[in-house]
Symmetry: C4
Subunit: 282 residues, 4 copies
Amino acid sequence: MHIIEKKILNQIITTRPLESHKGNFGRVLTIGGNIQFGGAIIMATSAAVHCGAGLVTCATSMNNLTSLHTIVPEAMYIDYQSDFLLIDAITRADILLIGPGLGTDTTSLQILQTVLQNTSSQQLLIIDGSAISLISLHHEFFPLIKKIHPIFTPHQMEWERLSGIKISVQDDVKNTLFQQQLQSTVILKKHHTTIYHRDGSISKLQIGGPFMATGGMGDTLAGIIAGFLAQFKLKHYEHVIDAAVYTHSAIAKELSNNKYVVLPTDIINEIQRFMQENSGGI
Amino acid sequence: MHIIEKKILNQIITTRPLESHKGNFGRVLTIGGNIQFGGAIIMATSAAVHCGAGLVTCATSMNNLTSLHTIVPEAMYIDYQSDFLLIDAITRADILLIGPGLGTDTTSLQILQTVLQNTSSQQLLIIDGSAISLISLHHEFFPLIKKIHPIFTPHQMEWERLSGIKISVQDDVKNTLFQQQLQSTVILKKHHTTIYHRDGSISKLQIGGPFMATGGMGDTLAGIIAGFLAQFKLKHYEHVIDAAVYTHSAIAKELSNNKYVVLPTDIINEIQRFMQENSGGI
Amino acid sequence: MHIIEKKILNQIITTRPLESHKGNFGRVLTIGGNIQFGGAIIMATSAAVHCGAGLVTCATSMNNLTSLHTIVPEAMYIDYQSDFLLIDAITRADILLIGPGLGTDTTSLQILQTVLQNTSSQQLLIIDGSAISLISLHHEFFPLIKKIHPIFTPHQMEWERLSGIKISVQDDVKNTLFQQQLQSTVILKKHHTTIYHRDGSISKLQIGGPFMATGGMGDTLAGIIAGFLAQFKLKHYEHVIDAAVYTHSAIAKELSNNKYVVLPTDIINEIQRFMQENSGGI
Amino acid sequence: MHIIEKKILNQIITTRPLESHKGNFGRVLTIGGNIQFGGAIIMATSAAVHCGAGLVTCATSMNNLTSLHTIVPEAMYIDYQSDFLLIDAITRADILLIGPGLGTDTTSLQILQTVLQNTSSQQLLIIDGSAISLISLHHEFFPLIKKIHPIFTPHQMEWERLSGIKISVQDDVKNTLFQQQLQSTVILKKHHTTIYHRDGSISKLQIGGPFMATGGMGDTLAGIIAGFLAQFKLKHYEHVIDAAVYTHSAIAKELSNNKYVVLPTDIINEIQRFMQENSGGI
């Protein structure tokens, strides 16, 4: 187990090569946002854009089209109910994020299934929020999960649902055991967020705080992870994830000096500056 | 009768416990916003989010979905015309706020009735704006009111309608008499806002001013009260209400140094900073 | 003829009485914004809100509902195609503004007619943009105009259409003659905007400049006039209009130090600060 | 070949004549934005507005109406599927920009055809994004292109599609040959953007960088070119284009000091200030 330290930032967030174009910084596809939880996928999408992902498309409910474009006109849209468009978008993506505001009804389940069935092990998939709850109820997805090696971002209750390990008895030994069976990365969000990496290593975060305990915070973290993986895909995989998780909490920590509660949109507004201040040479 | 003083702030707005998550800071449900008055419920909802309520859902007209998400993507949405969704959301909420922009037609009345019938005395209900006017016309709701012990936030004309006490003769004695019959808290909004508490105490506000005399100001106050009650529910009930009312006017007072009129959205933008500057230890 | 000077500001923008509420600062109804020109009425409405009008309602196309609420949630909405709602709103308003983005088709004409027929001489009506063009084509409205004594805010081409006086020969003598026949105020927007008052006096503006030559600038001026008249209705009528016109250009002039072109929304964002900095005692 | 230098700015961005109105600064029509790529045309439109174009209309999908008005209420709207409205708007425009987010389906193609058939050689047409891809597939448009003398703004892959010259062998000699056959200006977007002017001269940009490698950056450039051509139409044509291209990258360069990636909307927010700081006398 090691503590994620600030120096990870300038190892990962390095100077971009001069001869590069948006294609070099990855195609992200975010999937989620039903009529009730549209803000979740919009915040995740906006976070990915602000990190510097090359191209970001949001697959969501038609109901969220206008608020998506108004908040982040840099992102593209597809209707997540169109199987044809969704599969096409999945195929083109380098990084996929499913879950923020997805919901847990039949439509949500069908979209999750389409994503799991069409994602290849060459792509990186982040599974967040409602998608974790759905998988907890549908163990028939486990074989697909083990093939794709996704990143799960549960909070403790979602991890209990997924792993069957009750919150009160969750510890590194039990968590690692289940995570290794899933052949996935698990980012367990809690007071000191812990990351169970696929290579068996464990990272712990010592920053962050209760000023982050507000709706949408996890969606934003998921978007930052997607944005980091998209553009830093040639870097050490585990370190990129650690850097993304650190960035999210470090920005919140900074903002908490002047804000009693830090909102997800506050964090998104600071990503570009924070990354520049903490970037290193090539 | 006592004057609300600034020191109430750091007694109520205290350091959050390290081991906490969004569930600890309450679930707020805001209900209102017909096609004509959508901005009112959006401002109330946004105020609750900016105060630091853990999870905020807005039950409103479908017409307001996109502007809600665009202004405050942190909030969730349900269609207030769906009885099924509304009752489910009521049941899950810790704090309910009904009234901003609700209107006074048959649909509004039916929604109000659903809320009153499904709210338990374990929950806290704030009744504002059009909902006060509706109750004034429907005394058959009084038994429910007395069971729920809500917080009413009328301006003087709405109080006249509710209590039957004409503005010209409203005074603490007469106001208290009716308020105690209602077994409710009454926040009477006027030049020096007065709060008639359930425990019989009376608090008066000496800050605020005519720079706040603009549409939407009351909706924003109601949202701040909801946000304070949601997260400070273990504190002394009457003091939390006093702190919320003080916060609203104190921010406006600060902003009035540089603005001839202070708009509700200006206040919302300053809540996080103001709370941090006026927070105290545990 | 006299030059409008800066000192008019602190004579008009005076300290608000302590015992006042939003009702004291007037009800404004803005009418306009078809599917093509929605931004115009939204900017006018937002300007009125930022000036400090007590309550502002926007009667516009259903297509503009969401952008209205998103930009200025403080404003209320009605569908301008509903005769019933429109007439009700007209009756309740103290100040009416018709024209920004209204368009010139049959629907526009019918709405204009409804407004002219239902506005009383006790109310103040501002006629801007497309509404001026429509009246130019429908002289049958002249008797109504003479009864209502509105404020027209034409640019030079619109004035040519309304008055029949070609731009090349427009001068104070000819302009006054026609304006007095109309029994209206005319604010002729041009390099040095000139105001032909109902009392026969003429005011000229010497500030402003070509950095204001951009779409939406006139809509914003109309909204500021509405907002000033709403709240300063006890002041000298001609002086309130002069102060509103001065405020609009003075803000633009300030901003032009740092902006090559000044956009309407830039001006709106500065109204509250500018008014505070230039306000006087009672 | 010459390098575009900073001094071009104050030669082009000169003091506006005092006696001017919005008509003097050009009518821009932007055309694009299907349901998937609405943000692209909104950013292009907003860029043109912020540059100071006199009047800007956006012809786009009905789906983008509300986000357009919310982001830039200064712009007007028409439904690009209405042939009647589109042709009318084309006829009235001084500058046209087609392509951002247009898409490549049958509807997109039909709109492109309507634009090419109704644009006269007296008007200036910028062809960007999907419109370039469509023309690459439809060489039957080449005669129209040669008549209109448009400005193409391809990135290297789009230029390969249009010209048939593979990226690996693109050089000034081959690029010029094809560009001169098209009788068009070609702005080839790459690490050091190169402009092949109609008069045979070649300009190169030495600023800009990989912090600009993000979706929407090209749409914003196209909007800036439109805005510059609209208001500086009496200046030397080639120099106006150079100044617009320089402005776009110079703002991004400035912002990159504090932002790891610079977003299109960041650039748009700085256009007015940058132009003022770099403006010269008449």
